[in-house]
């Protein structure tokens, strides 16, 4: 595994600086560690010889102050680097998904996992594992090099024994890997059990099964303990073996130093220094192993996130919904958008969902000028898909779409947690309160909103909770009214409304269509009767369509 994938630095440029600082601090800390060994050995020598200790003591304190400052900076930078890199990665992922057509996005569940847990697990990877890695690379090297100058014999011993550690670690890893992997699946099941039954607690209590579950929980948790301990025993044993190995290696250095000291072939100061430096060659390597366990998730998340964010970017950075989707023939002149006819032109359009060869749309032609165009057709004939294609949210399998900036009102009104104002101004750009109230008045909701104690600040729950289905449908119509898009695409805008509110909504739609191109998919006859143009879609080849 590569410690830092260069792709990360390319895809997340914000990572460069903190990672650079981290590396620099790591190197400085390594130097300070070596300095400490010198200071400490000279202090001990001074004490032993009865010489004045002041200068050695001052040296030690200065080095330790330097280490304290470096530790403080290192901790702070590491924490900041962790959040910076994971935040930047998350932002790049989301930004990329928001500017990609639906086919280029991972599935919803996968996307959520990658952007939440995945990006979060990068944080300990950067904040803990990478600094440990820097230390592991810097300190042993410095220790061996210093030893070579101070006492080449000890350096030789270290150089000869140091490779034993990784070799030994690999050997232990190879013998335990199978056992660990075998247990891993079972372990995940067992540890998930409690979360599962707690989440399902309301269901279990509703059927009077809550009390009985307690016994099962104890049994499963004990099973979990046994399985975990079996895995942990191996892990602990291998780390104990490595520690023992490191201790033995240090002991070999100490024994040779001791023998040479007692023969008088080496100075006390040199001998002490060798004994203090030798462990520094072994320790950091072991710490990397320990930190790696907490970083494994982060490494895996990086591996799956990087291909997503390093994929080629679309040229522009605008929102796709507002970007004219063009076949390249006649790009709309950006200079005078007001004069450009607000139309949608669809030619020979075909679409099949990713991973499927069946075409939901095939050879669709449609021209919708300014005014109201109503699209009808049997259920499942691809009406919603057509609107998504016109909005540029999907890439046609064949054919071309030409449309100005679009605003699509989806079949299920899209409202989210936040205030009414936030919801009504989603994608509209800056809008005055007066304009919002005017739009609400037109959809007949001004009274309802004014009656709320917080007015436009009224919080909306998830999915627009707090408002009825009919009100939600009218809220998103008000938002469409506020949007400055040239083309409005409405997917079943009045399906959930009673006749009276539907009539209000239809009036609003008709009014919108006076200056813009409005394409509406509907089952409602009333709306069809108001249309300037009517397009009847047929079901594709297999099922004969029943045009409305």
């Amino acid at each position: 595994m590569r410690p830092v994938d260069p792709a990360l630095l390319r895809a997340v440029p914000q990572a460069r600086r903190p990672l650079g600082v981290l590396a620099a601090v790591g190197v400085a800390q390594g130097v300070a560690t070596i300095g400490t060994a010198f200071a400490l050995s000279s202090l001990v020598v001074a004490v032993v010889r009865g010489a004045p200790v002041a200068s050695a003591a001052a040296y030690l304190v200065v080095v330790m102050v330097a280490r304290a400052v470096l530790s403080f900076v290192g901790e702070t930078v590491a924490a900041a680097a962790g959040t910076t890199v994971s935040s930047a990665l998350r932002e790049r992922l989301l930004d990329r998904w928001l500017s990609a057509p639906a086919e280029d996005r991972p599935g919803s569940a996968e996307a959520v996992t990658l952007a939440t847990q995945g990006a979060a697990s990068v944080e300990p990877y950067v904040a803990r594992f990478l600094p440990a890695l820097v230390t592991a690379a810097v300190v042993p090297t410095l220790a061996v090099v210093t030893l070579a100058f101070v006492d080449w014999l000890s350096a030789l011993v270290v150089v000869l024994t140091l490779p034993l550690l990784p070799v030994f670690a690999a050997l232990i890893g190879a013998t335990t890997r199978d056992a660990t992997e075998r247990r891993w699946g079972a372990l995940a099941d067992l540890s998930g059990h409690f979360l599962d039954v707690v989440r399902g607690l309301p269901t279990l209590v509703a059927y009077g099964r809550g009390e009985r579950q307690v016994r099962t929980i104890t049994d499963v948790s004990q099973g979990h303990r046994r399985a975990t301990m079996a895995t942990l025993r191996l892990a602990f044993l291998s780390s104990a073996a490595l520690e023992l190995l490191a201790t033995i290696c240090v002991a070999i250095v100490a024994v040779t130093v001791g023998l040479r000291l007692s023969h008088g072939s080496v100075e006390l100061g040199t001998g002490l220094l060798a004994i203090l430096l030798a462990p520094e060659a072994y320790w950091p390597i072991r710490r990397v192993g320990a930190e790696f366990h907490s970083a494994a998730d982060g490494a895996a998340a990086l591996a799956s996130a990087l291909p997503q964010v390093s994929r080629a970017q679309p040229a522009g950075r605008e929102q796709p919904a507002n970007r004219p989707v063009s076949d390249g023939a006649e790009p709309p002149s950006p200079g005078k958008p007001g004069n450009w006819p607000k139309t949608v032109v669809v030619q020979g359009l075909a679409y099949s969902y990713p991973g499927s060869s069946d075409r939901v749309l095939d050879g669709v032609d449609l021209t919708a000028p300014t005014g109201l165009t109503v699209v009808t057709g049997p259920s499942g004939c691809g009406k919603s898909t057509l609107l998504e294609l016109v909005a540029g949210l999907r890439t046609p399998t064949a054919g071309a779409v030409r449309a100005q900036s679009t605003h699509l009102v989806t079949q299920r009104p899209f409202l989210t947690v936040g205030s009414l104002r936030e919801n009504l101004t989603l994608g509209t750009g800056p809008v005055s309160d007066a304009a919002i109230w005017a739009a609400l008045r037109e959809v007949g909701l001004d009274g309802v909103v004014a009656a709320q104690p917080d007015g436009l600040q009224t919080p909306l729950g998830d999915d627009g909770r707090g408002f009825s289905a009919g009100q939600r449908a009218r809220l998103v119509l008000a938002r469409a009214r506020l949007a400055d898009a040239d083309v409005l695409l409405l997917d079943e805008p009045t399906a959930h409304l009673d006749d009276e509110s539907a009539a209000v909504a239809h009036r609003v739609i008709l009014d919108l269509a006076r200056h813009r191109c409005v394409v509406a998919v509907t089952h409602r006859r009333e709306l069809l009767s108001l249309a300037d143009h009517h397009v009847a879609l047929r079901a594709t080849a297999a099922a004969p369509g029943v045009p409305a």
Binding site: L43, V44, V47, A68, T76, A78, A80, T83, S87, E91, D95, W97, S99, A111, V112, T116, A120, L195, D196, V198, R199, L201, T203, A206, Y207, R209, Q213, R215, I217, T218, S221, Q222, H224, M229, F236, E243, L244, T247, V250, A254, V257, G258, S262, L272, Q319, P320, T376, S405, T406, H407, F414, T416, L426, S468, A469, A495, H496, D498, H523, R525
Partner: protein, 560 residues
């Protein structure tokens, strides 16, 4: 539940032996090297050589032993704590759990419990270990030279104070950080799962701004939090250095042998490694305390239903005999008169509700959000005690009947049905453990899942949930309905069962449900009138009385 198990303390003692061996290793090595440089007869060094070797071996061995014991004890405690927590949650369910975001909240409870139990390994063990190893070093130094012992004990006090300071700093920003992280997770989930909707209205840029805002708050809070750890990691080595110099000064002012002087200088310095675990332990401590606080807040709630009624009421309660229930014949007559209720004892959630449900009737409850629709169902299902008014089951006061018996009349279907990570069979049988496969198949068919089941690779043995097959929203709702039908409970309470479903699916689910209900009564709360043309009464809670059958507003799409 917050006891410090003696097994954890024993593990701490093992850990202290390991760390103490480390200190002793450094100290005796120093002694040995200095003594060797005086070129004595080799034999006089033998004891020290054996000691160095022993300490060197003891450190990894005792560390291994400590980790094994502490983890085993913590996992054992976790098993007990989980069972205890579950038992404590049962009476609080569902009335004391938030109605929205309940699954996320319960997942948080699981994390908090783990955090609290793991604190034994991540907080108690390091503290015990450090304290004991530190004390042993103090004793060693004091035995050699009392003044040095004093210096080292000063170092221990500084280490303890630093840890407390670190914990304080961490705690101060803990809530802000947790809230900010939750916010990032919420916004991220929204953006990642609804990219298409956001693109549709051209709100991609705004969505990224939301994420940025939330992440900026995380960065701020984490900056503040990292100070705790940074202060500890900086202070501890510095204090160790000062103590080392102090001991060096002590050694020069006394007339110990050269080797013993070396020991006096190196022993306190070796404590730096002992203190290495403290910053992390301080953070874990702060987190565990926060988890503990959240858990006790929840568990201190009073159950939504008062203690079981007194014995007299139990004996006079022949409402439904078990035989009735088994046969599924007796459908009770339900009557609410002027019922008011409150979830928190302060705000009234339902006021003066009158409702009568004759056996076999379908009653729809409508009304604006917050008018108490769900509260009404909770009172009917005996999940929540009414504050005022009376609730009669077959003419008897429901509050006088055993809670379990009244609850057993109702099968509740809400809009967040849980699918357990087990087989289809077990997912259904929780509603009626004695059910045979034949019963399961009937219920599945009646709930409109027959074709779905037929398409499953292993039929009833197919695994669902987290590690198994995913279910669509409609399948989930239908599974919940199949459970309700299987349970043979005589009254179905439906709380917005189709709120998450698209229109045609909602219509189909409701139609199938009403067709399959048989003799059962149904009380349905919905703001969508799908498929309720059959309702015998519409109760508009803004009027709080059941209106006579009036036509349901026709919002069914008019198909051309």
């Amino acid at each position: 539940m917050n006891r410090r198990s003696p097994r954890i303390l024993a593990a701490g003692a093992l850990g202290a032996t390991a760390l103490g061996s480390g200190v002793a290793l450094t100290a005796t090595s120093g002694w040995l090297v200095v003594r060797a440089s005086e070129r004595p007869v080799i034999l006089t060094l033998l004891t020290a050589i054996v000691a160095v070797r022993t300490f060197g071996m003891a450190r990894p061995v005792f560390r291994y032993w400590e980790r094994l014991r502490s983890h085993d004890a913590a996992l054992d405690d976790l098993a007990t704590a989980r069972a205890d927590l579950y038992a404590a949650l049962v009476p609080l369910t569902p009335a004391r759990l938030p109605r929205r975001g309940r699954a996320a909240m319960l997942a948080g409870v699981v994390d908090d419990l783990t955090e609290r139990v793991e604190a034994q390994v991540r907080v108690t063990v390091p503290f015990v270990t450090t304290a004991l190893a530190g004390l042993a070093t103090v004793l060693l130094c004091a035995w050699v030279e009392p003044a040095a012992g004093l210096v080292v004990s000063g170092l221990l006090v500084v280490a303890a104070l630093t840890t407390l300071l670190a914990r304080l700093l961490e705690t101060r920003s803990m809530d802000a950080l947790v809230a900010a992280r939750d916010d990032v997770a919420r916004v991220t989930e929204l953006v990642a799962s609804q990219s298409l909707d956001l693109q549709a209205v051209g709100a991609g840029g705004q969505a990224i701004e939301w994420v940025r805002d939330a992440q900026r708050r995380v960065a701020r809070a984490s900056r503040v939090q990292s100070r705790g750890r940074a202060v500890a990691t900086a202070t501890l080595p510095l204090a160790t250095a000062v103590a080392t110099v102090g001991c060096a000064l002590v050694a020069t002012r006394t007339d110990h042998s050269a080797a013993v002087s070396a020991l006096l200088v190196l022993a306190p310095f070796a404590l730096a490694e002992v203190f290495g675990t403290l910053p992390e332990a301080a953070r874990a401590w702060a987190r565990a305390s926060a988890a503990e606080r959240r858990l006790s807040q929840l568990l201190d709630e009073r159950p939504g239903v008062a203690a079981p009624p007194h014995a007299a009421a139990v004996s006079a309660a022949p409402v439904i005999t078990p035989a009735d229930r088994k046969a599924g014949t007796h459908v009770p007559h339900l009557r609410l008169r002027g019922v008011g209720a409150s979830w928190d004892g302060r705000r009234t959630a339902l006021q003066g509700a009158d409702l009568a449900v004759a056996p076999g009737q379908v009653v729809a409850v409508t009304g604006p959000s917050g008018c108490g629709k769900s509260t009404l169902l909770a009172v009917l299902a005996r999940q929540l005690d009414p504050a005022t008014g009376s609730y009669l089951v077959d003419g008897q006061d429901a509050l006088g009947l055993p809670v379990e018996r009244v609850r057993a009349l109702f099968a509740v279907v809400d809009d967040e049905p849980h699918v357990f990570a087990t087989t289809v069979r077990e997912n259904l049988r929780l509603a009626r453990p004695a059910a045979l496969d034949q019963d399961l198949l009937e219920a599945v068919g009646a709930a409109g899942l027959g074709a779905w089941l037929a398409g499953l690779p292993d039929g009833l043995d197919t695994r669902l949930g987290a590690s198994g097959r995913g279910l669509s929203g409609g399948e989930r709702a239908r599974l919940s309905i199949a459970r309700a039908l299987l349970s043979q409970r005589p009254v179905l309470l439906l709380d917005e069962p189709v709120a998450h479903l698209d229109h045609p699916t909602a219509l189909a689910v409701m139609a199938d449900l009403l067709a399959a209900r048989g003799e059962r009564s149904v009380v349905v709360v919905s703001h969508r009138p799908e498929g309720l043309a059959e309702a015998h009464g519409i109760m508009d809670l803004t009027r709080t009385t059941v209106a006579p059958r009036d036509p349901v507003p026709d919002a069914v799409p008019t198909l051309p």
